[in-house]
Amino acid sequence: MTASLERGLNAFREVMDAPIASFFNSCVHCGLCADACLFHTETGDPKYTPIHKLEPLRKLWKREYTLLGKLTSLLGLGATISDEELEEWSPLVYDSCTLCGRCTLMCPVGNDITYMIRKMREGMAASGHAPAGLIDATRRSIELGSPMGIKPKTFMARVHEQQEETGIEIPVDKAGADYMAIMSSMEIMGYPEYLGSLARIFKQAGISWTVSSEAFEATNSGIQIGVSDLAREIVMRIVTVSEKLGVKYVISPECGHAFTALRWDGPNLIGRPYKFEVVHILELLDQLLKDGRLKTEGKTAESLTLHDPCQIVRRGGIVAEPRNLINMVASDFREMEDAGVYNWCCGGGGGVSAITRAEELRFTVFKIKKRQIENTGAGTMITACANCRNVLEEGLEHYNMDTKMIGITELVAEYLKKDEP
């Protein structure tokens, strides 16, 4: 109960680095970011223009970091930032930004608006303007170990269940293994078959791997709510365990934000390089495919399309890998319009799916995905992010669409070459 405006403004001052200052300076007000953002295109409301979502942060930059701003505030003319204003901006900074990075990609002067929103959330959280749903998820992450409240016991139950299902042993806490796999809570709760699929693929490829009974959760609510102190603590759990077990690689699950948090933000948060490498599961599978260690047989005749998760494609650079894998097991793969790095977000990334009050808005902006899916005419949609998958399934249900959903890893595992007796 200690959040305050002063702490929030202090956080704004703290995040004000050279990139942010130069981004604010170089914005030419062209408005191209508006048409890049699904919250603007689907609602037509100009308040959802990405750069506008940063207004309070920009005000502070202007007042305290520019010569003119300093002079005017000396004269008592500078704009001030109030608690009411931050409260008004909270839905803009949280509910209507999935940190998807499309605006950043479109900005003609190269301003990383996504980076700025992420930084702005530091001040919003510290001043007590983070949405309740996200606060609850973060609390569960810190206190219980997972935003969905999954405890080690639950996870171990899932491991045993998948072991029985597949008849393959899933190594737990095995020191010296090459790979350590982690999962997102959405996978543990909703799509545990991901774990079974891993077991089957890794058995065929002969990979030495393990899961951890302590650090199994990849989702980082600290990143989503915008509190580096908490994000660091969450990343550190994985770092500590994987360095204790001495694994060479940590496999990021399909989940997009988990990948961003672990791969890109993690070392900056803890202030040192990892002693292991982070690979995304799609990168690993594609590598196995190239090395000839991943063998499949048969192809599905079902018409498929792919939803590219923003954090994996746009912010993560993994574009060709999912396509290599899909084409290996599918004969009717149809690309969506704007596929690849220009793809549109599912509408629930960046913590938005945890915000209860944003539900209606999420369905509104889902219309773009709906159009994209319908234009392909495909019967099944594949994605590589458990959170996208969950948001998409909700959207499909809301609009009474009968498109089926599947994750890439499970799809590949389904067509694995049967063991020779």
Partner: protein, 362 residues
């Protein structure tokens, strides 16, 4: 059928087929960035156009511009078009000489007063009363002023006429200036280049014949359709620039691989011309394709812009004392502001209280 003196009639008399003529019109439409729907309009206008009178004055120049236009290996359609205008005076090309030549000029100026197109190549010397270049005892300066009076428009062909060119280069002993420095009351179109691309000259002529007006010009008075984009933006070596792959000498691995010539002094990024698209010698190539950087010949003061082999990022003259002081002051001022900003940020950092989950609510 149009007038027997019309361009169409003349071209047909010279054995140019209708198809060949339309091909030329399409090429012109494309070059001038007009929509394809304009092709019939161009054809109709050119077909009916009467041979407009052109007076061509050559001043302080090397005849390279005339060479560029006329030296084509086969008589191209461009050359025929050129034949088809009434070139009433051009002292390099005309058969007449002496008084007869000057009389032809005087007659054309009188007969077509207010309608003829004046083409100028070469700069105009102004020092010492313009004595450094005279024709038939008349200084270039006087001749230009006299001929400009009755001109409908003036085409300054070549960098000398457009911007002063090489005669204008430091120390400019003859006080050479561009046409636009002297004539202020006539539309002037600058077709720069040393020399300019032939098709650019004929393109402007075709535009003038078709629409009776001059094409849209850039801030240096050049037709935007040909000078709207830099050599760099249209260069086939541009991808190497974007990848940071540069030839460092003219015979290294990079040069052999055809990498970007920026570091060898290529002026492509600051030069606006159509070389990279229309190319030279009937579309054979352009300088960069032959392995040499662009000299920037269609830009003002290209001769004084430092060595042709010095990369654009290197300063061409020593930084002056005032500039150095200003830069130093700027650095100090900037550093002071940066220090202060750093202080604000640093203070914020030291005031940072670790945010726990308990701190997320008020």
């Amino acid at each position: 059928m149009a007038d027997e003196n019309s361009l169409g009639a003349i071209l047909r008399a010279q054995g140019v087929s209708r198809r060949g003529f339309l091909k030329f019109c399409s090429a012109m439409a494309a070059l001038m960035a007009l929509p394809p729907s304009m092709v019939p309009a161009i054809a109709a206008a050119l077909d009916k156009a009467l041979r407009p009178s052109v007076i061509w004055l050559s001043f302080q120049e090397c005849t390279g511009c005339t060479e560029s236009l006329t030296r084509s290996h086969t008589p191209t359609l461009e050359a025929l078009i050129f034949d088809a205008i009434s070139l009433d005076y051009h002292h390099t090309l005309q058969a007449a000489s002496g008084e007869a030549a000057e009389a032809a000029r005087a007659e054309a100026m009188k007969k077509f007063y207010g309608k003829y197109l004046l083409v100028v190549d070469g700069s105009i010397p102004t020092k010492d009363g313009g004595v450094y270049s005279t024709i038939a005892g008349m200084s270039n300066l006087d001749m230009l002023q006299e001929a400009a009076k009755g001109a409908a428009a003036i085409m300054a062909v070549g960098t000398c006429a457009a911007f002063g060119g090489i005669p204008h280069a430091n120390p400019n002993p003859t006080g050479a200036v561009a046409v636009s420095d002297i004539i202020k009351d006539k539309p002037i179109i600058n077709v720069s280049g040393c020399p300019p691309i032939p098709v650019v000259i004929t393109g402007v002529l075709a535009h003038y014949l078709t629409f009776g007006t001059l094409p849209e010009l850039d801030d240096l008075g050049r037709p935007k359709v040909f000078y709207g984009e830099s050599i760099h933006d249209r260069c086939y070596r541009r991808p190497f620039y974007d990848q940071g792959k540069f030839a460092k000498t003219f015979d290294d691995e990079g040069a052999r691989n055809g990498w970007c010539l920026f570091e060898l002094g290529c002026k492509g990024p600051t030069t606006f011309n159509a070389c990279a698209t229309t190319k030279w010698n009937q579309g054979t190539s352009f300088p960069i394709e032959s392995g040499h950087g662009c000299l920037g010949c269609s830009e003002p003061n290209f001769w004084d812009a430092g060595s042709f082999y010095q990369a654009l990022s290197t300063p061409i003259t020593p930084v002056g004392k005032a500039a150095a002081v200003a830069a130093a002051a700027g650095i100090v001022g900037g550093a002071a502001i940066a220090m202060h900003n750093r202080h604000v940020k640093g203070a914020a950092k030291s005031e940072h209280q670790t945010v726990t989950v308990k701190d997320l609510e008020k």
